[in-house]
Structure formats: C-alpha cells, structure tokens
Amino acid sequence: MTPLLEARRIDKSFGPVKVLHQVELSAYAGEVTALVGDNGAGKSTLVKCVGGIYPIDDGEILFDGRPVQVHSPRDAGELGVEIVYQDLALCDNLDIVQNMFLGRERRRGPLLDEDSMEELAERTLSSLSVRTVKSIRQQVSSLSGGQRQTVAIAKAVLWNSKVVILDEPTAALGVAQTAQVLELVRRLADTGLAVVLISHNMNDVFAVSDRIAALYLGRTAAQVKTADVTHAQVVELITSGRSGDLGLKNGVTP
C-alpha cells in the first residue's frame, strides 16, 4: 500500500542549527498516524515543512506516490493537505460559517453567497456529528475550547482535503472535550482521510492511532504499527530514541 503522504529524508536547518536529519514520515488513507516526540524533537517543524510554511533543505515529499513541490500553504491546500495549528487560527469576531470559509468565500457576482456557505457549513458540521453548538451564526468568541477545535477541524475538511494534520488538538482541553475531539479524529480517518495527529499524550495516541512515528532529536526513531508496540516502548522511543530492536541503532548524542 502506498502512503498518501510521504516525506523522505527531509533535512532542515535554521541557520547553524540542524533541526531535522533525514526524517521520514508516512501517512496512509483511512488511518490515523500519530507523530510523537519530546519537546524540540522537530514535530512542528516537520509539519510546517510538509505544509509549505518552511522550505526544506533536502529530501522529497511524495503525494500518492508522486514527488511534489510544496512552496506555500496554498500549494499544500491544492494537494488536499490541510493543517490545523495548535493556536487554531480562528477569528474571534467572526461567526462559525465566516471562519470556515475564511479566505475562500463563495461569491455570487461581487457579493458573498452567504446562504450557500451557511448551508454547506451546516452540512459539514452535521456530517461530523457536531451537535454542541447552538447556532452556526454565533461568534467564535462565544465557543468553548473543544468547540473551537471542532470548528478548526471542520474548516480543514471542508475543502475536499485528503490529508489532515492536527497539531496537538487536545493540548488545552478538558477530559470530556478531549474525548469529543478524539472521536472526531477517529471519524475523519474512518471516512477515508489520512490523519496525522501530533500529540504528547500517550493515552490519546493509543486511543485513536493506527501507526506511530516517533521523532528523537530531529531524527526518525521508528515508524511502527500501534498494535505492535506497548506504551512503555513508545515512551522509550521518545525519551532515548531506541527501545530494544526498535529505534536508532547508532547512539545519538544530544
């Protein structure tokens, strides 16, 4: 099976600091791939490289087996790669519909086609079984953290996207809201999307992921199936880059 999105031997430096060394990542359609690693392991940098925000120094990105060039967020969007950032990027003073269509509004002549946008937003939210918001015309400022995360995710899937990358979607949420968002993540994969979930939380990772990619100090420590590893092994991969047969063979010094 070819991965829908694959990053091969990615190198990335910021000035003298090399952040990514020959990093590999594969994400498959219909699966949740958890991207784990300690702070500073390079998770967010890798995602931003894939999303076209940072140019890569070396390596290649393949989409559905074809090598592609991603120079801007727009390129990524055209391929169907959407990233939901940690800091959500929603406008508080706009309502849910306006946020979901921000920058890609539907127009009828010179004016906005509000009704068709509202209809489509409502259909998307229902298809994601979002049932907690009172009205999709309420301002985002009045939503809870979980609801905002849901809106951000719904915004990402509205665009015929094929790959959705979520940067720590549950980091700031309570228990019930976390469960809600994880359920949504699982549902996205079940509908055929390739989902990449960046997370620190082992419980979340084991709850929803099919595969785990562990980064250690800017290197890919291992890419494994979630079913093949234990909690402890993943923690070891994150903290020392190796666990038994898994992980980096040659010792890496920080």
Partner: protein, 420 residues
C-alpha cells in the same frame, strides 16, 4: 463537497432557538448584557441630549435648527465613516482631518486658480485622498511603521501642505454654484418624499427577499413580524424627518422659501449604503474584519493582509476628501484651518461614540452616522446655550473619553462573559 460520509442519527446543528420576536429580543438583550452594545449608547445619548437641549432652549426644536444639524454634522460624519475602516483594523488615522483640508484646498485651487470645471475639481480632490491613503497605508503595511506615528507625521505635514496650497494663509472663496449647493441647498419637497418612498421600499424588498431565499433553503429566516417592525420603524422615523425638513424654515417666507431635505442627506445615505454593502457582503469587507480580529489567522487563510490595510487607508482618506469637499462647500471657502482644530477628534469621537471599537474587529459604517449625529447635537446645542469654544471642547473631550471608556469596559465585560 468533501469525503465525509453522512452519519445517521445525531445531526443536529440547527439553532435551538425558534425565530420569533420574543427570542430575537431576548438574544439582543443577552448580547447587550454580554458587552456587545452596538450603537445603543449613541442612541441613548442622542435621546438624552436632545431632551436636555430641547428643555433648555426651545429654539433647539425648530425646523431651521433641525436642518442645521445635518449640514453641521455632515463633514465630520463623512470623515468618521472612512475612519471606521481604519479603526476596524485596530489602526488609527490621525491625519484624516488635515487630509480633508488638503483635498479641500486642492478643490479650491483647481476651481479658482486653474478654473477647471467643478466635476474635474471634485475628482482631483478625491484622487488626492486616494494618493494620501496609498502613501499612509503603504508606510503602515509595507514598511511597518505604527499607524499612530505615520498619521501623526501626516497630521503635521498636511497642515504645512494646506498652507502651501492656500498661499500661506489666504482664504480662497468658492463661488461655483454646484459645489456651494452640496452643503447649502435642499432637495425640492416632492423629491424628498420620492427618495423616502424609494428607501423604504428598497429596504423592505431587500429584507423580504433575504428572508424568503433563506426560508427556501431551510435556513433560519427572520420572522415576518420582525421585518414588519424594522420596516415600520424606518418608515416612521425617516417619515418624521422628511416631514420636518419639508417645513418652511425661512424667517421671511414671502421673500425666499427655504424647505426640503438638505442635499448632504442623500449623499450620506448613498455612501452609507455602499460602504455597508462593501463591509457586510463582499469578500474585502469580510477580510477587513478578519484582519482586525486576528491578523495571523487571516494571513494563514491566504488573505493579503498588507493589501487590505492599504485599501482601508485609501478608503479612509478618500472619505476624508469627500468630507473636505462638503466642509469647503458649507463655508463656501477654504482657509488654512479647513479640516483643522477639532475636526479629527470629532470624527474619531463620532466613530467611537457610535460603537466602533478602538481595538479593531468591531464596528459598522452606521456607527459613524449615529456618532456623528451625537457630535452634531452637542456642537449645535452648546452653541445655542451660548457656551463658548472652551466649554464645547471640554464637553466633546469628555464625551469622547466616555465613549472610549464604554468601549473598553464593554470589552472587559465581554471577556468576563466569555464572548471574547
């Protein structure tokens, strides 16, 4: 659409509120208590001020004074309407007053010294505004100088520019009948009523059409009763205004009759409708709000933030130009003080009093008109009471501070209510 399957069962996004007058009213009360007051303070202020002045000076409620309010407040209202665009971004334009002066001076010079036809001069004045806005916006967006500093520099430099244009302080008088008519003439009474009928009919038509098309798509539409109330209110108040303005207000009716809606009223109305449409119904307007609400989110959504900022400054300065033309028309002359002294602060005050936030992301063009009315009433009423400039400045300064305070407190309150 997308690849997400429709899942059975729990697809409930629809509003739990049924659309009725009662619920609409409750929702409004909730918004106000949550700190989103819109133009409510301006409306209350207007009613209180009018009541006070009417009680203290019976001449305040005469037909001639009512008409005066419109022509007195027009220039400031027009400048304030433009300022709303810049304020929506969370920026400020301190140079708008003298920008209007520069544009008025350009109008006067091209009209008198160059002797060009009036329409060429008007276009020249507005293009001067566009140029000023482009330069200011470019410096703010592309170079990255804070708008406060850029426009403060503009505030000083444009004063100098006005002096240069009017030859170090001479007074250029304007005799062109068309230009003078803008702020000094009235529509014939029948045209006032015709305009009134068109406005009410169009407003009702737009509301009905929107409700019908939303209902057809199964979206929540405003109930008929609410639409009827809105249209009725507009018809009532606009009707009263047109009636009052059509009363004879000449001191000597046999000699010269003075009736009708001042020409500045339709001018302001047209600009109000156009800019409201731009803000609420176009992509540019949506992006302007987005940049004001969260510039980073707007950038990530692919919105050209710099370009939006420049456009906002261009609109602001162009509206200042139109304000300058009206001011020149009213005074029938341009001097070094046109657009100077308190014009800018009155205009900023008008926008803020009307409910436009100084923090960006919240405001409407209608706010500027409401606030402009408050400023005009203060200026006019204080004059009738016989107070001098000193008291006027003190009162207007206090009102501006009060409005900004209300804005800041509303924001705090909204944060407490979890609305921001």
């Amino acid at each position: 659409m997308n690849k997400v399957k429709e899942l059975p069962g729990e697809a409930i996004v629809a509003a739990t509120q049924s659309p009725s007058i009662g619920n609409s009213f409750l929702a409004y009360v909730q918004r106000v208590r949550g700190g989103d007051m819109g133009a409510l303070p301006a409306v209350i202020g207007l009613v209180v001020l009018c009541a006070v002045f009417a009680a203290a000076r019976p001449s305040f409620v005469t037909a001639i004074n009512f008409a005066n309010l419109f022509t007195q407040g027009a220039a400031i209202t027009l400048i304030a309407m433009g300022l709303v665009f810049v304020l929506l971004l969370g920026e400020i334009d301190l140079s708008a007053g003298f920008a209007s002066g520069v544009c008025a001076a350009v109008l006067a010079v091209t009209l008198t010294s160059a002797g060009l036809p009036w329409y060429v001069c008007v276009v020249a004045a507005i293009l001067t505004g566009v140029l000023i806005g482009t330069v200011l916006g470019g410096l703010v967006a592309k170079v990255g100088i804070p708008s406060f500093v850029v426009t403060l520099a503009g505030f000083l430099a444009f004063q100098g520019l006005v002096l240069v244009l009017v030859d170090e302080g001479t007074n250029i008088s304007i005799r062109n009948s068309v230009i003078v008519a803008i702020a000094n003439r009235n529509l014939p009474p029948w045209l006032g009523w015709a305009l009134y009928a068109v406005c009410v009919a169009v407003f009702a038509g737009v509301q009905l059409r929107r409700a019908r098309s939303r209902a057809k798509r199964g979206l929540i539409a405003d109930p008929m009763s609410l639409i009827a109330i809105r249209v009725g209110m507009l018809a009532l108040f606009a009707g009263l205004a047109v009636f009052a303005l059509n009363l004879e207000r000449s001191r000597n009716p046999e000699l010269v009759s003075l009736t009708g809606v001042p020409i500045v009223v339709p001018l302001i109305l047209v600009l109000l409708v156009v800019w409201t449409l731009v803000l609420r119904r176009t992509g540019f307007g949506r992006h302007l709000y987005a940049v004001g609400g969260n510039a980073e989110a707007a950038r990530r959504a692919g919105i050209p933030v710099d370009r939006i900022k420049i456009y906002a400054f261009v609109i602001c300065s162009s509206m200042a130009a139109i304000g300058g033309i009206v001011a020149a028309s009213r005074a029938s002359s341009v001097d070094p003080n046109t657009g100077g002294s308190s014009v800018l602060l009155y205009a900023v005050g008008a926008a803020v009093i009307g409910g436009t936030s100084l923090f960006g992301g919240k405001g409407r063009v209608l706010d500027a008109v409401m606030g402009g009315a408050v400023v005009a009433v203060i200026e006019n009423g204080m004059g009738l009471m016989g107070y001098g400039a000193s008291v006027k400045y003190l009162v207007t300064g206090s009102v501006l501070l009060l409005a900004a305070g209300v804005d800041a407190l509303a924001r705090k309150r909204a944060a407490a209510a979890g609305l921001r």
